[in-house]
Symmetry: D2
Subunit: 294 residues, 4 copies
């Protein structure tokens, strides 16, 4: 397929490389063009503009937040204005349910196809083509998107025909991950202050009931207080909890643990943690307890 890729940051770069690897004809656009250089070297074409990236069968966007997606889609010369009727926009960004609803309507109005396909996985999984993809859209659009989704992920879950469903699942998944960080942060503050080695403690957890990647990956970061460099930066984690709370507002679902996480991220950022990994919220309980890691 001829695929345009918009956004080749930490996650997008790995996804794009896998599109190339899978034999797709790739055209890359990034606001800061230097980030596209490595992909160009691997055979991608550099798009001169967003419109230029919209000339193929599909465009895949992977951007940081609602503002970035809105600008890329709705600006003059943006995706909505440039993509041919019948062509496909696959949105992998973690964005608000409200914006996905707006994208769905906008693309439909001009006869474009649209699939929401947010992903689970950190940058090294993106680079390995091992993401988990949560996809939603009309069956024909999903079918058209499949070669792209297959290239970037180890597995695609098709969750329905309404695109925002995929984003709600993604957002709630990030809420669950952050909940793991918080619970481990509190537990490790407790056992750590009692003199128990945090790494041995984690070893016990992950050998028993908690033998899932989410515990080993984030548990290791929390146990070691190893929050730099950021695999996924704290402001993005904060953004995702706010997206969960925004969806909860719309749906009228009180989520007190999400509220706690929001306050944790806010504390982290207020105290200068913008550059840290989002798992750094797992260090706040120890700090409150008077035994900060560093």
């Amino acid at each position: 397929m001829r695929v345009g890729m918009i956004g080749v940051g930490r996650m997008g770069a790995g996804m794009a490389a896998n599109l190339l690897q899978a034999g797709h004809e790739l055209c890359v656009y990034n606001r800061s063009p230097e980030k596209a250089a490595a992909l160009i070297a691997q055979g991608a074409r550099a798009a001169a503009s967003i419109a230029d990236a919209c000339g193929g069968d599909a465009v895949l966007s992977m951007l940081a937040n609602d503002e970035a997606v809105e600008s890329v889609v709705f600006a003059d010369g943006g995706i909505a204005a440039s993509l041919p009727a019948g062509a496909l926009h696959i949105s992998s960004s973690t964005i608000s349910v409200a914006l996905v609803e707006r994208l769905t309507a906008a693309h439909r109005d001009v006869g474009q196809r649209f699939v929401a396909a947010p992903v689970f996985g950190r940058p090294h999984l993106a680079a390995a083509g091992q993401l988990f993809v949560i996809a939603a859209g009309e069956p024909a659009a999903i079918e058209a998107a499949t070669p792209v989704l297959d290239a970037i992920g180890q597995k695609t879950f098709v969750v329905g025909e309404t695109p925002q469903i995929a984003n709600l699942i993604k957002i709630s998944g990030n809420f669950l991950i952050a909940s793991v960080m918080e619970s481990l942060g509190e537990a490790m503050a407790l056992v750590g202050k009692a003199g128990i080695d945090r790494r041995q403690y984690l070893e016990i957890l992950t050998s028993t009931l908690f033998n899932a990647p989410v515990y080993s990956t984030y548990g290791g970061l929390v146990a070691d207080g190893n929050f730099e460099p950021a695999g996924f930066a704290a402001p993005l984690g904060y953004k995702d909890i706010r997206l969960a709370l925004a969806a909860a507002d719309e749906l009228r679902v009180p989520m007190p643990l999400a509220s706690l996480l929001r306050d944790r991220f806010l504390t982290l950022l207020a105290q200068g943690g913008d550059h840290l990994d989002w798992s750094a919220i797992g260090g706040l309980a120890a700090k409150d307890a008077g035994v900060p890691y560093r």
Copy 2:
């Protein structure tokens, strides 16, 4: 070994059966003697009293809470008064750090050995001899306890020489489990109110980052609102969160998520949930959201 078993409720019965299976000479005491009948039929001897159960090499106790353990150990004719010097008390109950400290001192004062060996696992794992055992005590005591611990569990983690360390790990582990229930409860209230099937949602979670027994087991209960009969009753879950908070008080570790869980259990009990499984706290978010499961 000649082993006395005190407490053959839902968990203790399975543990005792595995002691028999492993060839130990078993003497069983239970406050309600009828609960021991099945074990007697399998070859255990019925103890006439606690003291009667303390005549062997070791006594293993598995009781509901601090009060039960205090009464069994410190009463006239209790374990402390009856166990010979050099013999071993293995305590598998989930009890407070403070009580374990007291047991440690009491046994040491009269020359008895003591091992704290709380376990992770629900009744079906106890019946299968597949518990995870967290053990702490003096090396010689641990060594003496090993044949017993091997019989009841699939794996023993020796975590130190100070018995209360084992209990703190057990207590914090139950806090982590309850945290999973709360996070799933909130996430499922959110996606469920949006019309997503909770079972499909759980399937996605457990196929990706959350593929651990704690998510599949408790996630299934929460997704189905299947809280009866109780595998582990809500009042016991409440007790364990209070034990975590009591330890946090002693160690001065603020644990806001534990506080939230405490309030959840209290709500559940205040509204008549004593007979429900502890995972029923995972149904409260949906109730708050105006979409209760039943």
Copy 3:
């Protein structure tokens, strides 16, 4: 002064009546014109449009939320387009800090004067001209606004030259009021479940350290479970807590009590409480405790 009044709902109607009473020449605009009838009968002129209400020295707006104010100010024929240069817009609505910043800039750009003047007080105080007014704006604008502010309130606090300061104080004040409701709700659930009469309890509180209107007014509503009809409806209270949290987001200030209040309002609304007074959040603790008021 010749004053246009936009928005004569529960609060605005009382404020407008006091402007008439004080001798101002009043022109009234309301989206639902029948609400203006009583004021017309008292001598006000009915405005045919927003623009028609903008022909005097000043226009005072008292509307429900950001959306209403945005529409009244920025629409074609709205205040920004209709108010003569040098004339004054006084905004008494409880709206977001972000919107006040936008209003400030918009009015300045076209040479209009702007004062933010949110008020404390329920409808009966508005009717009595006994509101407390929190005002901020450039000194000359404040001076021009004084005859209007004097007419609607018993006292005006001038808090600075930056209009949004006044709104931040108003918003934080509503957060403090809601905090009182929550604390009283929990305390009364506790003592009430112990059999203490809630009214006698409140009497003790307000005779001692808590002898302020906020305790007697809201405490009485909570003690009696008297949440209908709404003096200030729950959705408005929810809006105000969200405004506080939005300001806290911007300023990066974690406010866990505000988060708790947000979840309380969300619970209230999710369970059908849109028509109740905002003090109804003070009944939720008793409900959680299994002893609902009704």
Copy 4:
């Protein structure tokens, strides 16, 4: 009346002085005798022992916590063993509901009278005889206690015949005070970070809806970050919140705001705040927000 006074710390000293002032024949006991010196100089007799203080018509105890009261009442030679039948014990300490129930039974069993009479007010009000007294007990006991209660307080509220009722009201009152500190702490962190002067902000609050001593007193401390020396030390505040939560456990009343306060006090103490006034919890929001007072 001939009155024994046990406990003349910061609060008790003022209460004792007012008993002398009112003409009572006073006998004073304190664990650290030097604290009684000033009262001896004013005409009190020094008791050689607790029993020695129990020789009159009544004994009034004002102690720091449950442990102190238990020891003074139940020890060999304690109040229960020493007070003549028919004589009166007035307990003004802020202690647990459970201990008051135990005291009630113990005194009744040996024919002594008992009144629970906890007080509201800081040391300067104790010194001025201006406390508010919450009293509960059998009518005859209350009548007998009246001359003592009149001497120490500006007003006595008789709340029932069951002594623990008085303590529950006192405990819940301290919860309400701490709630005010928390809400002011969050509000002042918010407006303070926006550049608003905290003292001016407080002035507005206390001139309007919040004109109660609890706002002016604690609001002043919070606004100024003036937490030393402690009028009422943080560990005592923590104790009182724990008493509220213990009562809530017994009665099964979830109190999320009380849980938040517990975590605040725990944070304060974990970070070295034992010597600070309890209002120092009102400084934690600003600290979380990255703008600590000092």
